[in-house]
């Protein structure tokens, strides 16, 4: 019983619910007004920040079910608050909610608020635009250039500052190439080069993807192609053929096998002998009984 009480005590003492402090927001702060208007730019800034800093705790759907139980940012009660209140909460923080005033600029916090408002009320988001993407490859230096434009009747109008993602497909996911953000230049182009030492299939083929994704301004667009730009995959079988500690059950090292079989047979020989003795005792009693 002592153990029971001790363990119960440990459970209770460990799971004691923490008291959360109340928010303290002055009227002045609460009535602060948003200085950034809702447009493509502020929404994408906001979105990037939310993905980078908010979803880990508030959840991928920012409904409060992230790594810890937290406020749902798409709930009615959250969105009833004034912009100023949300701004203060983000910048000041409270216990588990960190303070962001050192990390984010004011405009960035407002952009986050714009994005959260847009998620709650999608009609605030302007519809995404159609764009076209051409991919130009340079076989010699293994580089890819994405060219982003909109079509007018007569010509292609290049688009500036479109964020392009370049990936190489790997076994379990996509590997990013280039910078974190590859923005198109004046001529609508951005170029990245493929590193030399990427392992491809046994022919050295790698699959490269060029994407516009998760953009608020533009629709998702994707191009993919396969090029022998990687290194050929060489499987090194020599370890698998060896009897080794990391081998399969059929590849037990001989010394280990001998050791285990040796020890076990000595022990079981002794046990067999004991069983034989039991049998002999039984036999000898029968002689007496007869």
């Amino acid at each position: 019983m002592k153990t029971l009480y001790l363990i119960l005590f440990l459970i209770i003492s460990n799971s004691a619910v923490c008291q959360i402090k109340k928010w303290e927001i002055s009227n002045e702060n609460a009535s602060k007004s948003n200085t950034v208007e809702i447009n493509y730019k502020s929404l994408s800034i906001g979105k990037n920040i939310v993905i980078k800093t908010c979803v880990s705790c508030h959840g991928n759907k920012i409904d409060g079910n992230g790594l810890m139980k937290s406020t749902s940012l798409i709930s009615d009660s959250f969105n009833k608050q004034s912009d100023g209140m949300i701004f203060t909460k983000i910048s000041e923080g409270r216990e588990l909610m960190p303070s962001f005033k050192g990390m984010l600029k004011e405009e960035e916090i407002w952009s986050v608020i714009n994005y959260l408002r847009a998620l709650y009320n999608p009609s605030l988001i302007p519809p995404p635009k159609d764009v076209s993407m051409d991919v130009e490859l340079n076989e010699e230096i293994k580089s890819i250039t994405a060219f982003i434009y909109t079509k007018s009747d007569t010509a292609k109008i290049p688009l500036k500052d479109v964020d392009i993602h370049f990936y190489v497909k790997r076994q379990f996911g996509l590997m990013n190439i280039g910078e974190a953000n590859n923005l198109t230049k004046e001529n609508g182009r951005v170029t990245v080069s493929i590193p030399d030492n990427i392992i491809g299939d046994d022919m050295g083929n790698i699959q490269i993807l060029v994407k516009i994704e998760n953009s608020i301004e533009f629709k998702n667009t994707e191009k993919s192609f396969t090029k022998p730009w990687g290194e050929a995959l060489k499987t090194d079988d020599k370890w698998y053929d060896k009897n080794s500690l990391w081998g399969t059950s059929a590849k037990t090292p001989v010394w280990l096998l001998m050791l285990i079989i040796g020890i076990s047979s000595i022990v079981f020989a002794c046990l067999t002998y004991v069983f034989f003795i039991i049998y002999k005792i039984k036999k000898s009693s029968e002689i007496y009984l007869n």
């Binding site: 119960l8 790594l67 081998g247 059950s249 022990v267 004991v274 007496y288």
Partner: protein, 450 residues
């Protein structure tokens, strides 16, 4: 035979009859108290079974074991039970081989503790498995390179040897019981008949039995050492803070002897108190086994100094987090309870003769057992919570491990299972060896066999 011899013979015979009567007393009708006790144990085991069914239905998520802390109370319980079971080898083999007479009434107690502990340990390992239906895979696909497989081999071997070592000295006792018509016309009669092997007590048979026991007593010592050494290798063969230690084998073995001795003292006390065995388990026995407990505890203290002081002196960066969690951090309360209350204080107290008297040493033993249980927890959980790679992007709850009610219930169930096995054994067989006690009191074979 002259008159004097005849008188002595009949006196000895009377003495023997008395011994048989007393030592088979627990085999009579169960008292009300005993029924309540068995009912209580069955209730706990029932609760554990319900928890386990719930765990099978809902998976291991009913426990608090997660990615980081993937071993918890079950494994602590497993190591604890294995540790307790090691006492069988110490008392029945090491002490017997050393010709220590006072160990006689303790042999069977220690051996049944070993058997009970091992059975519960094997069950708790299955409980710890997420997919118990795949248990057989270990026999088909098991890799001999893995210490887990060594553990399975060695634990099962030890169980077989322990059962044999429990059974062999029982043969003459069962024969005595049959001759004295104990258990006649009960359900047990047939079982007694089969188990007694028709023992006649002839010199040949005694020789055979002695030979068999000698083989078992010698072979059980390396097997016993290896069962706990291999169990410690489950930890020590991995590169983890707090486990990456070369002295884990002897550290575990010495700890096991300590908790096992304490378990035997607890059982001795309860059996003596329940069945009024003051003539068989005397204060002298408690004194001697108390000294044994001091010895094993000192040995364990020595290994603890090595295990904690040496890394603490160097405090390598990762090791530092782990040690400070033990010494001053999250686990410090438990750590100091275990180290002070479960080891150092008992040693100091037991140096004085007064504390080696039955009642004081009984309470000290309980403290040691509790300490030993939590010690196993402290060996496992803090290490798992301090991996080399920082814990990132995990839910907050993964950073802590607090056993859930279900885990506690099942763990209590396993302990209750051990106690039930011991209780039922005492109901079926004499817990203090009759024949050996008679031999120690110089009662001749002639009387014993008559």
């Amino acid at each position: 035979m002259n008159d004097y011899q005849r008188r002595e013979f009949s006196e000895k015979k009377e003495e023997f009859q008395e011994i048989v009567a007393e030592l088979t007393k627990p085999l009579g009708k169960p008292s009300k108290k005993l029924k309540i006790w068995i009912g209580f144990l069955l209730f706990i085991i029932g609760m554990a079974t319900i928890s386990y069914i719930n765990q099978i239905v809902n998976g291991l998520s009913v426990t608090d074991m997660r990615d980081i802390s993937s071993w918890g109370l079950y494994i602590a319980d497993f190591v604890f039970l294995i540790a307790v079971s090691l006492i069988g080898s110490l008392i029945t083999a090491i002490l017997k081989l050393a010709n220590i007479k006072w160990a006689t009434p303790l042999t069977r107690i220690s051996e049944i503790i070993a058997v009970g502990g091992l059975i519960a340990a094997l069950l708790i390992i299955v409980v710890d498995m997420g997919r118990p239906d795949r248990l057989w895979h270990i026999f088909i696909y098991g890799r001999l390179q893995s210490p887990i497989l060594w553990d399975i081999i060695v634990v099962n071997t030890y169980l077989i040897i322990s059962i044999l070592l429990l059974y062999l000295p029982l043969i003459p006792d069962i024969a005595i019981m049959r001759k004295n018509e104990i258990g006649k016309s009960t359900r047990m009669e047939k079982i007694y008949k089969i188990l007694s092997l028709g023992w006649q007590g002839s010199d040949d048979q005694h020789k055979l039995l002695k030979k068999g026991l000698a083989v078992l007593m010698i072979i059980i010592i390396p097997v016993a050492f290896s069962i706990h050494t291999v169990t410690s290798w489950l930890f020590a063969s991995t590169l983890r803070i707090g486990w990456d230690s070369t002295i884990f084998g002897p550290y575990f073995v010495s700890g096991a002897f300590m908790v096992g001795t304490a378990a035997v003292i607890t059982a001795m006390y309860i059996i003596r108190w329940q069945y009024k065995y003051e003539n068989y388990i005397t204060d002298y026995h408690f004194n001697m086994v108390g000294k044994l407990l001091v010895l094993t505890s000192l040995l364990y203290l020595y290994f603890n100094l090595n295990e904690y002081l040496v890394p603490a002196y160097k405090i390598k960066s990762h090791e530092g987090d782990h040690l400070s969690a033990l010494f001053t951090g999250d686990f410090s309360t438990m750590f100091w309870f275990v180290q002070l209350g479960g080891m150092i204080l008992p040693i100091i107290l037991m140096i004085f003769k007064f504390f080696r008297k039955p009642l004081p040493i009984f309470f000290i033993s309980i403290a040691i057992i509790l300490g030993a249980f939590f010690k196993r927890f402290l060996i496992i959980t803090p290490t798992l919570l301090h991996p080399f790679l920082p814990i990132q992007n995990y839910p907050d709850s993964y950073r802590h491990y607090t056993p859930t009610i279900a885990e506690c219930m099942i763990t209590f169930g396993s302990i209750a299972g051990v106690l039930l096995i011991i209780t039922l054994f005492i109901r079926i067989f004499p817990i203090i060896p009759i024949a050996e006690t008679a031999h120690d009191r110089e009662i001749s074979n002639e009387i014993i066999n008559s």
